[in-house]
């Protein structure tokens, strides 16, 4: 027997589990447990058929580090570094494109803004394979764009802009641009313009005005955008698979290969663990930054 307030809290908790329980249980059963199983597999030994068998070992991790039957190779490090680099550059590209776009939208009349935002987002509603395939059509060696590049001497004749790192970068930036636009827009729409007016007398140049008045206010949106773009770009599978080649391989393809073409589940699971570690680091760092800046998360759970 506690107080009535405690009783009410208990009955609320009970209703919480009745309503939210089934969905939460579903996610635990079909995602939390499976991902746990997968990470566990990293500590098993690989069988001849690629499936995990006992004994427990750390072999898969030495494989990840580059040690194989042929001695040490830096290939995995190259793939990891390339994935980080591509994700970082793609995120920067989306930031550079999203800022002008978002401020273009918020400086339009209020009635036009939702439509303009919608037009920036609609392409993201089409299937990722179709979107990426569209860039294959645009960048392949026979497409006009590649032709122009050949004539200008940017790329050697008879080669296209794809497959390769450049095409992957374009594909990633294109795919995830809306993920930067939306949180930035949410921040820019709430912008307190009186601060900008107040700062007008204080700061000499437009750039300083921007970085001292506008930029800090959009920072929470920017940080959310970086998480929303950087993390999926880092782990992307479709874009490097279709637009990259062997020389543009990213971590996603390397992992997927261990479960499809040349099965080696423990090795694949160990690579996945690495991917998750980097994902979590990114997530934690940016969440901390957001919290420290007191970023409002709006109607987030």
């Amino acid at each position: 027997m506690g107080t009535a307030a405690q009783g009410e809290a208990r009955s609320r908790a009970w209703r919480l589990w009745i309503t939210s329980g089934p969905g939460l249980f579903w996610i635990v059963l079909f995602l939390l447990i499976p991902s746990g199983v997968m990470l566990g597999i990293a500590f098993f030994t690989n069988s001849d058929f690629g499936s995990p068998v006992l004994p427990l070992s750390l072999d898969s991790f030495s494989q990840v580090a580059g040690y194989g039957i042929l001695g040490w190779s830096g290939a995995n490090f190259t793939v990891l570094l390339r994935s980080l680099l591509q994700a970082g550059v793609a995120t920067s590209v989306t930031i550079l494109l999203a800022y002008p776009l978002v401020f273009f939208i918020v400086t339009r009349p209020a009635s036009l803004r939702p439509v303009l935002l919608l037009f920036a987002i609609v392409p993201s509603w089409t299937n990722q394979v179709v979107r990426t395939y569209a860039w294959m059509e645009l960048l392949n060696p026979f497409a006009p764009v590649s032709h122009v590049a050949q004539v200008l001497g940017i790329i050697p004749p008879h080669l296209g802009l794809m497959p390769g790192n450049f095409a992957v970068l374009v594909g990633l930036s294109y795919n995830y641009l809306p993920y930067m636009v939306v949180p930035l827009y949410a921040a820019a729409e709430k912008l307190d313009w009186t601060l900008v007016e107040a700062g007008r007398d204080l700061y000499a140049s437009g750039a300083r005005l921007f970085f001292n008045t506008v930029f800090p206010q959009t920072l929470p949106g920017l940080l959310s955008g970086i998480i929303l773009v950087g993390i999926p770009a880092f782990g992307d599978y479709v874009v490097p698979q279709l637009l990259g080649g062997d020389k543009a391989m990213m971590l996603g393809s390397l992992i997927a290969d261990q479960f499809t073409f040349s099965p080696d589940w423990p090795y694949g699971a160990a690579l996945t663990l690495i991917m998750l570690v980097f994902t979590c680091i990114g997530l934690i760092v940016f969440r901390r930054l957001t919290q420290r800046l007191g970023g409002g998360e709006g109607a987030m759970l």
Binding site: T3, A4, A5, Q6, G7, E8, A9
Partner: protein
């Protein structure tokens, strides 16, 4: 008990209690681990009474109201409405309706549907429902915006709709949680009168929660002043104002001059401003209080001779407030006193800061209060 059935007439077991009478005994409510929000409240409210719970925010008045409505359960004590014990009666079965501070109008329904919601939930058929909703809308002059959505109404209109939505169910008790606090002063005054008229006309019991002492004075038959989860004083408005029981009530309700006193015998007591003659029996009382409007001010040359409690002083501050002027007067013996003088023709004159005056505190106007 049939689900959804509402006890409109009092249960057969208690025919003695009038419909709409409320009896609270020992009501206590504790929020997780902290001090009680409502602490052993005993209160009887008569049927058809306009009762106001007055107190500063956080004093527990809203929690008490929510327990009467059935949104929260008391840890201790009994709530009896119309003679019926409410212990196991959930909110939706109580013949009690609430007007919320935020109005809480349903955003997906128009005004008419909002008002008819309670009748609909109780299974009142459409023709009957329409008749009652229409009658209520006419009574409150809501008709012109019956088809509008809640979002399209002004503050005053929302307030009317929220009131209509409660009244149309003909509840035994209507609970009002600071329903006028979001309105501007003029509209507020209008609606105070309208609310009062409506209550007298329909004869329902109203329990009105407010932190505004002026509102409480204007509207109530009786008020209960609350602080720290306890009822400090309950009584008719006049009694509570004129004879506050303690310092909290005196200070919360209106302006006051309060002094610690030392009894000297013979109806005399020593106060910081000098020796006071007090008509009431002093007994063990150690605090005395006088309302500013009960203080007479004279030109120093016209000061009454040979009377008790006349002190010379100097006006230090005069605040003109239209119908009256409020003076802060520094007394000769040290200390300040607050006095209020009406600006009618009978008033001798008004005074400016720096003028020498005399004040008289009539012994029968000095009240003894608890600390």
């Amino acid at each position: 008990m049939m689900p959804g059935a509402v006890m409109m007439p009092a249960g057969p077991e208690k025919v003695t209690a009038a419909r709409g009478a409320i009896s609270l005994s020992h009501i206590t409510r504790i929020f997780a681990g902290s001090i009680p929000a409502v602490d052993h409240i005993d209160l009887e409210i008569q049927a058809g009474e306009f009762f106001t719970l007055l107190g500063p925010s956080g004093c527990g008045k809203t929690t008490l109201l929510r327990m009467i409505a059935g949104f929260e359960t008391p840890d201790e004590g009994r709530i009896v409405i119309s003679g019926r014990e409410m212990q196991d009666v959930p909110a939706h079965q109580r013949a009690v309706n609430t007007v919320f501070q935020s109005y809480a109008l349903f955003p997906h329904l128009n005004v008419e549907q909002n008002i008819g919601f309670g009748l609909r939930m109780r299974g009142v058929r459409k023709p009957e429902r329409k008749k009652r909703v229409d009658a209520m809308m006419e009574l409150l002059q809501i008709g012109p915006f019956a088809a509008r959505n809640a979002g399209q109404l002004s503050g005053g209109q929302r307030q009317r709709v929220a009131l209509a939505r409660a009244l149309v169910n003909e509840p035994e008790v209507v609970l009002l949680d600071e329903p006028l606090s979001a309105l501007d002063a003029k509209l507020r005054a209008e609606l105070q009168i309208e609310l009062l008229r409506m209550q007298k006309r329909l004869g329902m019991t109203f329990i009105f929660v407010t932190h505004d002492q002026h509102e409480a004075l204007v509207m109530s038959d009786r008020i209960g002043v609350m602080s720290n989860g306890r009822l400090q004083q309950v009584g008719p408005v006049l009694d509570v104002y004129e004879k506050p029981r303690n310092v909290f009530v005196a200070e919360f309700l209106g302006l006051s001059n309060i002094w610690a006193i030392e009894p000297l015998g013979g109806g005399m007591a020593a106060a910081p401003i000098g020796v006071l003659k007090i008509a009431a029996v002093i007994g063990v009382a150690r605090m005395a209080m006088i309302r500013p409007e009960k203080i007479w001010i004279y030109n120093d040359t016209h000061a009454p001779q040979g009377r008790e409690n006349v002190f010379p002083g100097t006006v230090r501050e005069a605040i003109y407030m239209g119908a009256s002027t409020q003076y802060r007067i520094e007394l000769g013996g040290g200390g300040f006193i607050l006095a209020l003088d009406t600006n009618n023709q009978a008033a001798e004159r008004s005074w400016r800061p720096g003028e020498a005056v005399a004040v008289e505190l009539k012994p029968e106007n000095i009240m003894l209060v608890e600390a």
